[in-house]
Symmetry: C2
Subunit: 362 residues, 2 copies
DNA sequence: AGTATTTGTTGTTGACTGCAACATATGACG
DNA sequence: CGTCATATGTTGCAGTCAACAACAAATACT
């Protein structure tokens, strides 16, 4: 009875096969053999195992055009495992249940009164989730550290133990990640940023945060308060108590979530709007410069309203960045906008949950 | 013949046992059983295996004072595996050969002419190493990325492929890490910073760099050019082409490696020296603020001449840090000085090599 | 001196993966 | 349309591994 020994191998291989299908879609057994580096017979054993437990479904292979016996196609069953993802925002809580392979099984949302406490948001999330999914993950905009939200400009929270609140409200464990990091994971796994080894996602909501993801995986401390990088020593007073934070300096220009109006005004030739955008872009570039020097990403995505800011003020962002980062760090840097839009944080939260699920299976 | 399958288990367990001995010193088989979570009999098998290959030595157990048969003591054999560590500095190349368990087997150094090219430094390193050790690791002060030194203020290099130069000169593979990261690894593994989950080591040489280590392991992009964080927009011109870099601003105060003179002068009441230290500390604190916000460490070590700066200007460093980081990030932060001194980078480089060696054994 | 306790040793067992031989299903070719 | 080449699934077997249990050994305690 060698359980923790040899059976660990089986568990690892099971998890690897399922993860492969989850991430890269239906594949033939031959492709799986290649991808996992295992023997044909081993794949057969594991596939039979997973088929019996209902995780995968095999369909008799169709001809591929080339010679040889066609390989059987293997696909994961969406409902076999699912992850409940929740995004907590200032105005509402969004929920989606993702099945294996990334399919959306359910979707819902609840409006939230502004200025809501963490426990109330947790209650709203609990009502939406109702025990669905093997893992539950919440994305919260702010500085997240070990389940706690240390600071959130958007929600006005500080030191809220959201993981505990959610656990109390639902009677289960929760993972908590920050929205920017979640979105980064989403763009890497389901967007087109999978080539980036170090991906920095900027999230512009009521606050400005950033998330760093290395090879697609979030990591402890990847939650970055970009909005509280000091860009102007002795600058504007910020709600956080510091002076000259990026958020405070930007707020002085009078917009934030109201970026559309500003870009429109600038487009119509409004000089003060133009100048505001330019200076915002410059401040953002400076803050980014420090973060880039400190973390060395190779791709930066501008999400939320920063997307609009970047699209209409790319030049000042780039030039401020150029003035504050070494050539080498700059040269390998790609600046882009995300492709998943609103869904990014939810998808990324779900993928974080799936990663945990696969890890737990091993 | 199930090689890549079940034999992988054996390899993993062998490596785990050896790593345990390397990191925590001689232990009894009973302790190893506890630490690795394996069965007594399994430990016995693996120990016999490693004893035959000469990696460990078992000595009959002595009484521990408590009841029961005394457990046999197991120790790793230093010469069984070794790592060659080299530190390249502006004035010399230092070399030490470390055996399993961290023992120093050899030590040597070669003076270097100032303004030396990367290839010449590589040749000097090659002569010192001469095929010794299973792994060879070089610590270089600067921005290291995938074996290349993108920027080094101290050495005056930019875009030097040191890994390739070393490989050419020695006919073997080299790992290249930056000096600050190496020192961080050293302080974590052999110093007293093992409690830190995110350790930031500041290295003051001719340039100012930093290294980030998460749970004792260096990571891609952990090499931080702290000296090129811009602390003064439109400030002093820096050799790197930017303006207002920390290095350039500090250099304006006239010291760098000559910190002893400055602290002494300040101690004697020299007002301008005092002011220089204060302003240097302030600039350092500001740059640190950005790095802390971006990376969220829980411990910072001031190494090289920054040690002296910190010891004599802790107040301005702390207050500037307080003005540029959120309370939560600051509250869990411990500021300290390293304990390994000059040996830190070499020890850390060696430990990086041992980590690679153990990974390769698996 | 005898008992309790802890640990090393040995033979056995259940499990896993890889291999090789065979069976099966397709395309290519005459 | 039949044969051959090719690629893949299937099956029985072999080699390896870690856990377990029973036994032996070595110590402390009474």
């Amino acid at each position: 009875m060698a359980r923790p020994g040899t059976e660990e191998l089986r568990r690892r291989n099971r998890a690897a096969l399922l993860e492969q299908l989850h991430r890269h879609g239906p594949q033939t057994r031959a492709e799986l053999t290649e991808a996992l580096g295992l023997n044909r017979s081993t794949i057969a054993t594991i596939a039979a195992d997973l088929a019996e437990s209902g995780h995968i479904q095999e369909t008799t292979g169709r001809s591929t055009g080339s010679a040889g016996r066609p390989s059987t196609l293997v696909a994961c069953v969406p409902k076999a495992e699912s992850v409940a993802a929740v995004e907590i925002r200032a105005d509402r809580v969004r929920f989606a249940l993702y099945g294996l392979g990334g399919e959306v099984l359910e979707r819902a949302e609840t409006p939230l009164l502004t200025g809501v406490e963490a426990s109330a948001a947790a209650a709203a999330a609990a009502a939406l989730v109702e025990g669905a999914g093997a893992e539950a993950v919440a994305a919260v905009p702010g500085l997240v550290d070990a389940g706690e939200v240390a600071h959130s400009t958007e929600l006005g929270w500080a030191g809220s133990d959201v993981a505990a609140d959610l656990a109390d409200a639902t009677g289960r464990e929760w993972l908590v990640v920050d929205t920017a990091t979640a979105a980064a994971v989403g763009e890497w796994t389901r967007g087109d940023a999978f080539e980036a080894t170090k991906l920095l996602y900027l999230h512009g909501g009521r606050g400005v945060t950033a998330g760093l993801v290395v090879e697609g995986r979030s990591q402890r401390g990847g939650s970055i308060q970009l909005g509280h990088i000091v860009v102007e020593p002795n600058g504007q007073e910020c709600a956080c108590g510091l002076r000259g934070c990026l958020e405070a300096e930007m707020e002085a220009f009078g917009y934030a979530e109201d970026i559309e109006r500003a870009t429109m005004a600038a487009g119509m030739g409004d000089a003060s709007a133009k100048d505001g955008l330019r200076r915002s872009g410059q401040d953002l570039g400076r803050a980014l410069g420090a973060v880039v020097t400190a973390t060395g990403p190779d791709e930066i995505l501008f999400g939320g309203w920063l997307r609009e800011l970047y699209l209409s003020a790319a030049a000042p962002v780039r030039s401020a960045l150029a003035e504050t980062t070494l050539p080498h760090l700059r040269s390998r840097l790609r600046l882009r906008t995300p492709v998943l839009g609103q869904e990014g944080p939810l998808i990324g939260a779900a993928e974080t949950g799936f990663a945990a699920l696969f890890d737990r299976m091993r």
